[in-house]
């Protein structure tokens, strides 16, 4: 091989490898840029009022997003209540009981549901829970979020249950336990760390969803009584305030964005750290 060709290959090697490194760190730095920008803009706007006051009339400065914070909590509560049990039990079925064909069908359908754009899920919740009762409601918003929680929870539950070695199951059965007893008293507790973190991650994921709430939970300038009234939520408020012209609203949108992102990132970091310490990896 000629010397020139070797030099060319070596320099190409150096250049391309450096570029890949640049790409990787470039992507990571975007994360820090986002965080930094939000902290810079949102941090200045965070004050006590933000957490305890209701929005003020249009054009007046001040006020806060107390109702939106509570609203997001209520919606997440409903999403957890309706979605997590379905996800958990379906995951148990797939991991412990399922026959070959049915398992494949359910798993495929779950992946399908996972890939449905959130706005289409919003349409679905609208046709189910808003049209028939002629009412925007917290329930409808909670349902939309619950439908999104299910596939993520199913996948992580199944994964962590499968990761429990068969020897544990066999040991329990050797002691005379029935299959369901084994699952309930032995397998589930063993996998509980992973399963719970999977659940938390799914909730963190839907906490930031805006599109499905736009025409289910709608929005509210006040506290939302009960579960059948429209309700404000952090993501929808961020959206509404961001596209408006009022500088004060922009300020509040940054603050809300910081809170939302902070909570989502904290949940994700916490969960993933716990999982990696247990030696489990999570697929996307």
């Amino acid at each position: 091989m000629s010397q020139a060709r070797l030099v060319w290959r070596k320099s190409l090697n150096a250049v391309m490898l450096t570029l890949t490194g640049v790409a990787a760190f470039g992507v990571v730095s975007i994360l820090f840029l986002i965080l930094g920008y939000l902290i810079w803009n949102g941090g200045r706007s965070l004050n006590l009022d933000f957490f305890i006051q209701l929005p003020k009339p249009v054009g007046e400065t001040g006020g806060g997003m107390a109702n939106a914070i509570l609203g997001s909590l209520k919606l997440l509560f409903l999403a957890a209540l309706m979605g997590l049990p379905v996800g958990l039990l379906a995951g148990v079925y797939l991991a412990e009981f399922g026959g070959k064909v049915f398992t494949f069908v359910i798993r495929y359908t779950t992946d399908l549901l996972n890939g449905v754009p959130s706005i289409v899920i919003g349409i679905f919740a609208y046709t189910l829970l808003v049209l028939p009762v002629k009412h925007f409601s917290t329930l409808a918003g909670g349902l939309a979020l619950a439908v999104m929680v299910v596939p993520i929870t199913v996948r992580s539950t199944e994964e962590f249950l499968r990761a429990i070695p068969g020897s544990l199951r066999e040991g329990a059965m050797a002691l005379g336990a029935s299959q369901w007893r084994t699952i309930a008293s032995v397998v589930l507790p063993a996998a509980s760390g992973g399963i719970v973190t999977g659940m938390l991650l799914s909730l963190a994921r839907v906490a930031g969803e805006t599109a499905p709430l736009l025409f289910t939970a709608f929005s509210n300038r006040y506290w939302s009584p009960g579960w059948t009234q429209p309700i404000a939520s952090l993501p929808v408020m961020i959206y509404t305030y961001a596209i408006a012209p009022y500088d004060d609203w922009h300020r509040q949108a940054w603050a809300a964005g910081l809170i939302l992102l902070g909570l989502v990132l904290l949940a994700n970091m916490g969960c993933r750290l716990v999982l990696s310490r247990k030696g489990m990896t999570r697929s996307v």
Partner: protein
Amino acid sequence: MSTTSTTLEHAAPPGAGPRAFVQRLRQGDEVAHVITLVFAAAILLITSLLVYELWIQSHLSRAKFGWAFFWTSIWDPNADDFGALPFIYGTLVTSIVSLIIAVPLGLAAAIFLAELAPRKLSDGVAFLIDLLAAVPSVIYGLLGIFIVVPLMRTVIGPVLKSVLGVLPTFQGPNYGVGFLTAGIVLAIMVVPFIISVSREVLLTVPRDQREAALAMGATRWEATWQVVVPWARTGIMGSIFLALARALGETMAVTMVIGNNPKVSASLFAPGYTIAAVIANEFTEATGDLYLSALIELGLVLFLMTFILNGLARLLIVATERGGGHPA
């Protein structure tokens, strides 16, 4: 026979009615089996109900426009005349632009993480990139409006115009919002998916492939690019399809930066519209059942697009992970 429960502690001594005991155990199992089966089937129910509702609620629009819906570009609520072309166009263009930016970037980063970086660094960076994937869409929209749009208007647009202004894709007035801006924001949103799936797929390539190439005198880069990456080719394709499916359905970030104009334009600087964005903007205001039905039909179209892409993506990724890579 004393017990009525099936707890372990009260297990009947052997010989004391074993058949009844076993029956009860089995019934417990049956019950658990049925309960979990019902919940698993609930997923089937939800999904079928979703498709059903989309189909039924769009029937007014399907009946009136038929297949012409797909290639009509009028969107005139006043005249009750609706066509999906501008939205399909916008959805595809923004997604393709985002892939053009995200795929090289993501693949390069994945190669670095899988091949070059020491394991600890790779895991740490992958962790951070997973965090990037968790950032909510509306936050990207927020940053899109206040950072990317002004940047596009003041820096990126003029630079592109001066360098590539001859191309029809970079002509016309530059407002800051438009297809290109939406594509850039989408690219940042989908790049974490490409990186994390490609990285995992690259890590499954058997060591001996790499080592064989290196043993024959290839440089690190050559071994990677000409041997490892082609081996993982199908899995990487899968990650691209996943990213594409994600980009197609993205709503909030896009609707905040695309300009909301239902027109098919050649220029990337022009404002446009995507399926998800028009549904988000106009759903609560669709006056008239045909209008609402047209929007739901758009939702059905979007669902079908993502369904097909996701299905293909999963197939490709599974095929690679099962060791079905092909040498170059």
